[in-house]
Structures are given as structure tokens and as C-alpha cells.
């Protein structure tokens, strides 16, 4: 019979294991804490650039988006989060009818951030940003129009 299996030995071994645990937590008691204080640290908070929090349309220097209303993002989307509404306008110079973007509607509340739309876009007209502060009181506020 090992000493640790005897009555006294058992007590001693058990106490030793408990004391080791106590020592460990005591050490942590005095180490600096790791908590990051959001929202106090909002100004300094760094989030990875690749983080996906919300879809947006980057604008070029003239303030226009690059969307050509091809609808590839809409068809790539697994759960119809994106709806691209188009309209036909007549080009004044050539007189031809052209399909352009009317409304780019994005439902933040059902997006699964799979990046398929961004991958599908031929013009890099959409991208994800890391602005994560999106909680709202009304479900309808999550359906947003990305273009102006």
C-alpha cells in the first residue's frame, strides 16, 4: 500500500494538492488584471483590419460608389441578405438605356459575414469594415441602404 493511500497519507496528499491550488490563485490575486475596459477604451481600441462587422461601399475620390449593379453579390449571398435594385436610365449622349444601381439594400440582421459577396464583386465596390457598434432597438433599423 502506498503511503498516499493510507489514512494519514491521504489527508496529507489531499492537503498538499489543495494548498497548491490556493497558492496558484493567490499568485493571480496579486498579478495585474487583463481586463480591457470597453467602452472606456473606445478611443484606443484596435480591431483587426480584416474583421467583418458590417458591409459598406467604399467611395472613390468623387464620392461615387463603384457598383455596376451586376447583381453577382446578390446571387452569391447564401441567405438573400443583399438586394440590389436597379433602374434604367437613358444616357443623354448616346441615347442608350443603361442599367444602374438604384438601391443597394443590406440586411445587417441576417448577414452571416461569409465574404462571398465581396469575393464575387468584380469592381471591389463593397467591403467589410470593423465598425461593430450596431445594436438597435428596432429590427427595421438593421435593414440599411448602402448607396446614397
Amino acid at each position: 500500500m502506498k503511503f498516499s493511500e493510507t489514512y494519514i497519507g491521504g489527508i496529507l496528499f489531499a492537503s498538499a494538492s489543495l494548498l497548491t491550488g490556493l497558492r496558484t490563485t493567490l499568485k493571480e490575486f496579486f498579478t495585474p488584471k487583463v481586463t480591457e475596459q470597453y467602452p472606456e477604451n473606445r478611443a484606443t481600441l484596435k480591431i483587426s483590419e480584416r474583421h467583418r462587422a458590417m458591409l459598406y461601399m467604399p467611395l472613390d475620390e468623387n464620392g461615387n460608389n463603384k457598383c455596376i449593379a451586376c447583381g453577382l453579390c446578390q446571387s452569391a449571398c447564401p441567405n438573400s441578405t443583399i438586394i440590389v435594385k436597379t433602374k434604367n436610365i437613358v444616357d443623354e449622349e448616346s441615347g442608350k438605356s443603361k442599367k444602374v444601381l438604384d438601391e443597394y439594400i443590406y440586411d445587417l440582421g441576417s448577414c452571416m459575414f461569409c465574404q462571398l459577396c465581396v469575393n464575387a464583386c468584380p469592381k471591389d465596390a463593397i467591403a467589410f469594415n470593423n465598425q461593430f457598434e450596431n445594436a438597435v432597438f428596432d429590427r427595421k433599423k438593421l435593414v440599411i441602404r448602402l448607396n446614397k
Binding site: 459598406y56 469594415n129 445594436a135 448602402l146 446614397k148
Partner: protein, 213 residues
Amino acid sequence: MKKPNIKSIPYEEFKDNETLEALIKEINSERTNVVVGALDDLINWGRSNSMWSLTFATSCCGIEFMSLGAARYDFARFGFEVTRNSPRQADLIMVAGTITHKMAPVLKRLYDQMADPKYVVAVGGCAISGGPFKSSYHVLNGVDKIIPVDVYIPGCPPRPEAILYGMMQLQRKVKIEKFFGGKNHRAKKGEMNNDPIIVTNAPIIDNEKLSKE
């Protein structure tokens, strides 16, 4: 108008102030006296700073909820850390994860078992609208079909900071309530959101500001 104040984030920087202001107007439509108003403030201060949530998690978002309780994000700073396992003692149910057809009556029952005042936060795409599983035969498309939701936190899953932000939104909503007189939280009992989401006239998002960031 009384504007709810949250430490470290100015009122203007919060999203969806319009809904909140509409709500304030509705609640303040009846006049109350000063003493009762001060008492209301005290009670709302207590309620908003002591949101004990039910430990309810069905899937991925639940893990982020656990991260929120752990050392790095530590929602104890807000006083939210007393998570209760019994719905009777909880003030808040965080629907973190997909709600399926089989789970829906259970969720409803949990909600009914909670003591007033009770709040619901829908965390993540699944709880808001069915998210990735919108088209599934066995998934409820949005918990607001069965229980009234106070705050929606989008994301799949939302990062812990986003959940904290959502909790602060809820605090704002609690801070405008009226316990004495006026319309309080119970008034909306039974009002479920069953109308479909209309996608036209969607609010325009400020792209210029986003592009800069």
C-alpha cells in the same frame, strides 16, 4: 427631453436615437409629478445597472457570451456578472443562438417564467432573423415572432464589445422607463413583431463617414 446618460459614450454617438426618442415621447405622454419622477430615476438607475441575465445559449453566440463573462471583457464591470440559471431570478434573457421549432416553445416558456421587469436581447443573426439558417425548415426566423425583443445586436457572432454595446443600449432603454404611472415595460406584453420587414425606404447609411474610418 430627458436623455439617458451612459458613462464614456456620448448620447449622440449611440445608434438609433430616433427610436429611443420616439419611445421617450410615448412614455412621457402622461404627466407625472416631481417626487415620483425622482423615484423613477432611482429605480431605473437600479434596474439598468443590475441586469442579471439568464444563462441561456443555444449555439455560437453563447460562446461569445461566455467570453464576455471571462477576464478580458469582464461584464462584471457593468454589474451584469450575476448570471442566474433560474429564470425566476433573471432580469434579462439573452437569446444567443439559433431558435429552432423544437426550441421555440421552450424559449417562450422560459420567458414566461421570468419575473417582471424582464428584457430580451436578440444576439446575432440567428436570433434576429434566422440568419444563416433563414431558409431552413426547422428554424424560427427571428425570436421577435414569439417574444418581444428590446435590443437587437447584429453579428455572426457579434464580438464581445458589440454585445457590451448592445447591453448599454438596453441600459438606455431601461433608463427612460416609468415605474410609477405612465406606460411601463409591461404595457407591451403580447405585442409581437409579426409584420414583415419592408426593404424599401431603408435608412441611408453615411458612407462618407465610413469610408474615412
